[in-house]
Amino acid sequence: MAEKQIPVRAGIKSRRIKVDNLTRVEGEGSLLIDVQGGELRELKLKIFEPPRFFEALLKGRALGEAPDITARICGICPVAYMMSAVHAMERALGVTVSDPIRQLRRLLYCGEWIESHVLHIFMLHAPDFLGYDDVIGMARDHGERVKSALAMKKAGNEIIRVLGGREVHPINVKVGGFYKLPEKAALTALLDPLKHGRDTARDTVLWASSLDFPELTRQYEFVALQHPDEYPMNDGRIVSSRGLDIQQTEFPDHFEEIHLPHSNALHAVRKEHRSAYFVGPMARYQLSRDQLSEETRALAKEAGFLRDVNNPFESIVVRALETHYAFDEAIRLIEQYEVDGASSVPAPARKARGVAATEAPRGLLFHQYDVDERGLITRANIVPPTSQNQFTIEEDLHDLVSANLELPQDLLTARCEQAIRNYDPCISCATHFLKLDIRRD
Amino acid sequence: MNDALIPELCNVNGRLEDTPDVFTLDLVPPPGYRGFAPGQFNMLYVPGAGEAAISISGDPEDSYRLVHTIRAVGDVTSQLRTRDGHSQVGVRGPFGKPWPIDAARGGDLIIVAGGIGMAPMRPVLYAALADRASYDNIYLLYGARTPRDILFQEQLMEWHRQGAITAIITVDAARPSWKGDVGAVTGFIGRIPVNPRNTVAMICGPEIMMRYAASELLVKGIPMDRIHVSMERNMKCATAFCGHCQLGPYFVCRDGPVFRYSDVAAMMEVKQF
């Protein structure tokens, strides 16, 4: 079997990365850095998650099951999986949902953005900036901040619970709409905590923007959905900061997953130049920040962040801004919601292919399904944000390590972990296991 | 307030470890506690763990203490075991039909107890001994697993020595150093002189043991309706509201736990009923 060698950057001879393409990349991770003659010779990030074969086990299942099954890929962003799956299926069947349903799905996504972003900012990322092991340690000195963060998180989770049934793996997403529409009153009851949350999100942005960001600026190719009328979530064309502008169905023509030698990883690259690209909050912010609400933009300006962000450590601020926006948007959506029409439209089976990309909290999530006339899935392909950012993380690490070779082992380890946590909760959790093995001569 | 479902918290006088898994909890009776008759039980409550039906094992004449002898087998009973002089236990009761001690007056009384089944029998002995003259012979046949598991051993032996009762204590298994009897308690019924016309028998222990004991006593000629057994079923309320302790037409909490053997014998034969 031919093994492809992917040269990413001079100085690194070989790399071995073990990543599963389909779930959060986590479990155990290790980073091997080999420095010789004062020069970084080898950097090995190894993260291992036992493969679960979702694409294979979707085969033969009813298309209506795809949202519930793919939700189980990730417990942190199940809504994202459900959204990509449900839209892909609806496109396959040629189904268009009513406007209230479209709005409710956006609301559901807002809930997940809030929940996931706050989790990331406070439980995974902030402790790094402030020098704590975890949020519990942080709570000892920053009790109020942590408590109000938990309240924000809860407000986001409450949206998912009311609309989806429960926080993790909601059950109300249906091909064609929802199983049951929420009562207006159940949603309005969320308004107070959401408004409160929006205030806290505002504080969070200002606080995050005052943190010390380690030096690391890189030129990324940002990739995200873009929509003419809204900040992207469930809908839009796929665009990049280097001029790509395609329909979702064209994704496979421009992006490719490659299987690295000596690993069980699938890495996504830009097909044209086999290069790394960047998905997630910073990409969306780069490409669509004009679509943010008035208030969020004003807030960004106040924080000094209404600008290009190329330092991945600053992603914590972008995440906070998106959190603020998600609160704003959720409030708007609830205020205008009226129970109207059926909870779903009929979605009769037919043989077709359906494709959808949506914006998971941590970036573009692509689903593609072939279904047969009985409504059974014959083929599935899922590209999660994690595998798309994999290359970028490695490149970040490479630059970071090269520039900080003089740091003592523990500081360098912490810095590397922090850099990985710039991306998403999934990877960062794996890297809590990070064993830094640094060899110097 | 008069609500049979709400316990009263009682202080614990003390706890005594009887055997490796049985302990005795001595509680201060709640104000207004109306006393109990031998064979009745209380619902003991530990916040967070729940309630359990526990027979009262103390002296019915002693109104200063409510004594329970408990085997730690599960949630509630294990939590009860953590209670001591600094803690409280919730109490509701007493509930249930007592042993028919009066019916035994003027004749012989045979008590057959197995394991923790000795607990509800001690009040019978207290009561009968307080009025010893009213009874002819009082026999106690008591089986425990091992010598270490014998409850109230000293007290029982003392009564035996005094001649107040005739006690046969047997164990299922023992080291050679054990000088007493070994074997199922039912096997010792043959040893006592039974006066079939004027005896009341009371049996408490595992259901299967009660069945064997009863059939031995029947063989000895004691009529079925003079044999009494104490039944156990899951119990939540003790007031015949919760439905758990049903035994055919009966509620164990209301119509029992003490039943005439003639009333329950047929049902005890039906598996899983």
């Binding site: - | 307030m1 007031t239 439905g243 209301r254 009923f273």
Partner: protein
């Protein structure tokens, strides 16, 4: 007795609201007639029932009581599915005070009235009184309805519990003439008489009495299921080892639905719930069922371990032991356990086989 038009009946429901009753009655929800807080009586709904089957139907008429029974029972209001009996805070027991307001039940059927009285016996007429039940019961104003039609699952006639209301309702209605219904109104309690007087209505004549009686008779005639009661208790207690228990156990899912929809089943369990934030412990009572493992659990295992003995407990309790315990049958023939059994097990059929020697 007097006679009301449908408008007068609707006005009466409004009157109950105005008189500060919490009005509980039929509510169309999730494809069924359920009982809950209602504003006005739904019009023109019916139901179609069979073993394991229920469909809400539109009758295309003006009936207010054209349906028979849905999955809800009045039990939920008198003996709620879950309630906290007391809580423990700061080492003190705090009983939960239950202060129900005035409530009106609208549309209680004969078998349901009978079922309420069965539960009265369980909770009020034994050695102990269930205070919470008693307090709620005293606050209920019952508007009963004689059935003018029967569902395929009904068998109230088996026990003479219906279709005409026999129990202690405050007032009883009979609905006549589905296309343009009118109501024969019998006010029984003093409260009912006062309230009914506020609506007025013409005295009913003989012909109207006759028509109302005919409507009820027709319902009785529609009843096809049977459950002969004579000798049933002894027959069941004699059949404890009948092979039919094994047969039914091979179909029964032990899910407990039959007991949960039954208006007379009263089993409950308790649960301790600790609130981690306040460290308050709540002692809660929840509906239980003899189909659960914990119902008969004693340390080491359940006495009714297998489905066979759970089903046997259910049936023998309902139809036999109940008579010993409460001097009445535990089944009023409402048929809910037949309709709402997910696999359509029908107690009347089982009993028929159990009565025959194997």
């Amino acid at each position: 007795m007097i006679q009301w038009t449908a408008e007068q009946l609707d006005a009466f429901v409004q009157l109950l609201h105005d008189e500060a009753y919490e009005v509980l009655g039929p509510v169309i929800r999730d494809g069924a007639v359920t009982y809950g807080a209602m504003q006005a009586l739904p019009v023109g709904y019916g139901d179609e029932q069979a073993a394991g089957h229920y469909r809400l139907t539109q009758r295309g008429d003006q009936t207010r009581f054209g349906y028979n029974l849905g999955p809800s029972t009045w039990k939920q209001f008198l003996f709620p599915p879950s309630e906290t009996l007391f809580s423990v805070r700061d080492d003190l027991i705090h009983p939960v005070e239950n202060q129900p307001g005035k409530r009106a039940f609208i549309g209680v059927r004969a078998c349901e009235m009978a079922a309420i009285e069965v539960q009265d016996r369980v909770f009020l007429q034994g050695e102990y009184t269930e205070r919470r039940y008693e307090q709620r019961r005293q606050q209920v104003f019952i508007v009963a309805v004689n059935c003018s039609q029967a569902a395929a699952t009904c068998f109230c006639t088996a026990n003479d519990d219906g279709p005409a209301v026999r129990g202690s309702a405050d007032m009883v209605l009979t609905e006549v003439n589905p296309q343009q219904p009118w109501y024969l109104v019998e006010a029984i309690s003093e409260t009912a008489k006062k309230l009914v007087a506020k609506i007025g209505g013409a005295p009913a004549n003989d012909e109207q009495h006759h028509q109302a009686q005919a409507a009820v008779n027709e319902a009785a005639e529609q009843i096809s299921r049977q459950l002969p009661r004579k000798g049933l208790r002894d027959a069941l207690f004699d059949a404890l080892e009948h092979p039919q228990w094994d047969d039914v156990a091979s179909r029964c899912l032990s899910c407990g639905n039959c007991t949960q929809v039954c208006p007379t089943c009263f089993c409950s369990t308790t649960q301790e719930q600790t609130d981690l934030v306040s460290m308050e412990v709540r002692h809660q009572r929840l509906w239980d069922s003899c189909f659960t493992e914990m119902h008969s659990y004693t340390t080491g295992g359940a006495i009714h371990h297998k489905t066979r003995s759970r089903y046997r407990q259910w049936l023998t309790h309902k139809l036999a032991a109940w008579e010993d315990q409460f001097d009445v049958s535990g089944c009023t023939g409402c048929g809910r356990c037949i309709s709402w059994c997910p696999v359509g097990i029908d107690l009347t059929e089982e009993v028929e086989i159990l009565r025959k020697s194997p």
